[in-house]
């Protein structure tokens, strides 16, 4: 993604002192309202005042959309290796350990079987808090296993993405996760399993350029950035004047790249409706 990942995403990986001053995560960046964590959680992390959609962690997202206690996580033991012995300002294994300790996740995606309004499905949910939701070998493998699991049980697959793109620290192997996940989607299609792609903020670069764009149905969360190249890089590379809604879900809807923009409180019902529709297919 040659100079094409939204730089703001990757700054999370920088050491503390190199980061820009960031507002409190529970302060709404749109209207400045501040909330307690339990308030936000109870409101599905949507600002009650202005409707801004805060980021949702993967496990919390599963709890938001799936029927209670139906999620059975798969492939929990997969962990990234360091095939390139990648070292920038920190060694990659150190970044991985730090991310796992901070997020409690093995990598940037969790997968597993679940039910939504009693309809079975397979879920593949990304977590932006784990190295910017970047896709390396583990995310590619987990998505492929989720597809295989969906095919085996003949249920639809639902992916919920939040990712800055391919993970630089695994080099060319990260790029190979694009074709790998695309092949998994093609297998799903051959097996006539439905695939719904839900794109949360941000779904960019390598994830947008692979499985996330290939849903039978593609939906976006309001205000989510869905771009192959983020606004900063487009601005910096081309010096073009960017439209105010550049790359946002609303712009993507207008240009015909997503089927619907679904506010978070309606997402569970929307997915249930699709699961019902897909379950009556031949």
């Amino acid at each position: 993604m040659a100079a094409k990942i939204d730089v703001s995403i990757e700054h999370r990986n920088l050491p503390e002192e190199a980061r820009d001053e960031k507002p409190h995560p529970n302060t709404c960046p749109k209207c400045d309202s501040h909330y307690r964590d339990d308030e936000l959680e109870a409101n599905l992390r949507v600002c009650p005042h202005c409707g801004f959609h805060f980021p949702v962690r993967a496990r919390e997202r599963v709890n938001q959309v799936a029927d209670e206690d139906t999620f059975e996580e798969e492939a929990t033991d997969l962990r990234s290796e360091d095939p390139l012995e990648f070292f920038d300002v920190l060694p990659y294994p150190e970044r991985l350990v730090e991310a796992e300790l901070r997020t409690g996740l093995g990598d940037a995606m969790i997968i597993g079987g679940a039910a939504i309004e009693e309809r079975p499905c397979e879920l593949a949910v990304m977590d932006f808090a784990f190295l910017g939701g970047s896709m390396g070998s583990v995310v590619g493998e987990k998505f492929s296993r989720a597809a295989e699991s969906a095919i085996e049980r003949h249920v639809p697959l639902i992916s919920i993405t939040a990712s800055g793109g391919a993970r630089m620290q695994e080099g060319i192997l990260s790029l190979m996760q694009l074709p790998k996940t695309v092949c998994a989607v093609e297998d799903l299609r051959d097996a006539r399993c439905g695939f719904v792609s839900v794109m949360a903020h941000p779904t960019t670069a390598g994830v947008l350029a692979s499985f996330a764009s290939l849903g039978d149905v593609c939906v976006a969360e309001p205000g989510a950035l869905l771009a192959f190249t983020g606004p900063r890089v487009v601005q910096g590379t081309t010096r073009e004047k960017l439209p105010d809604d550049f790359g946002l879900a609303e712009s993507n809807f207008r240009y015909g790249h997503v089927d619907a923009i679904v506010p978070r409180p309606e997402l569970r019902g929307f997915l249930a409706k699709l699961l019902r529709l897909f379950s009556y297919a031949g």
Binding site: A2, L84, I172, V182, E186, G206, S213, F228, T229
Partner: protein, 323 residues
Amino acid sequence: MPGEAELRLRERLSRLRSLPLLRGARLSGELERLQRQLERIEEGATDEEIWKFVELARHDDRPYTLDYVERLFEDFVELHGDRARAEDPALVTGLGSFDGRTLAVVGHQKGRDAGERAKRNFGMAYPEGYRKAMRTMEIAERHGFPLVTFVDTPGAYPGVAAEQHGQGGAIARSQALMARLSVPTISCIIGEGGSGGAIAIALADRVLMQQNAMYSVISPEGCAMILWRDGAEKMKAAAALKPDALHCHELGVIDAIVPEPEGGAHTDHDEAAALLAEVIKNALEELVGVPGADLRRRRRDRFRSLGIYGARPTSETHAAPAR
């Protein structure tokens, strides 16, 4: 000097490595000996030495797609336009005769002089280019023509219109179509294999890479900007990304390294084309006649197997599966 010795060794090694394709036999003893020698030397490889591969891959005189097309194909007919909104000269497609067989051709095209570079957008395609590629792939499928793609792009174009016209989706769909094709497909990285813009046309049965080409998830400059916050650290970034053919081969990303003339492909376009033609010819011989369903299954299995990961259970993630 070690730099020169390494280059010579790499060349010999890549020639040996391409033997399985060229002659169907592997000289494993010699290969291993060279590999060990190389590993010893590699330990001392500096950032500058790895950077040399990047410079060769981007050399101004390096042969581009149409230079190979001219030398490899007879009766070449270029096909233009995506039948929806535009013709994108950054990506060329067409039909041509190679070794007595009609092939469909898709490749990025850089420009040689300032005017052509601007016209070709430095080989950075818009979604329209990838849609034109898909149109040509569909012709290949319909008529049973094997598909050859030439990859040489800094990346897909990062512009406002490109986003509005669906750059991400176009790259995804081009890969998806390649995963569905039932004709033999061969991709060759002939210069810069730049990220999503490259893989869009490189999901093939056989992925070849020229000796001095590069294939990377992000440009060294882009990586340096993000991780070091300083584009000047591009050499360090290149060394960390390991975008050269040998590393790509070791990681299983490419199937064979295509030798180049002494000094690089830019020194002798005819020789470079002849070396490439031989490898393509042998790959075609292996693939033509294999039933389409088998090609498709093996192609998907090939990409399914890419990636290196481990298994390391932690009690916490097991204990709280849903919280």
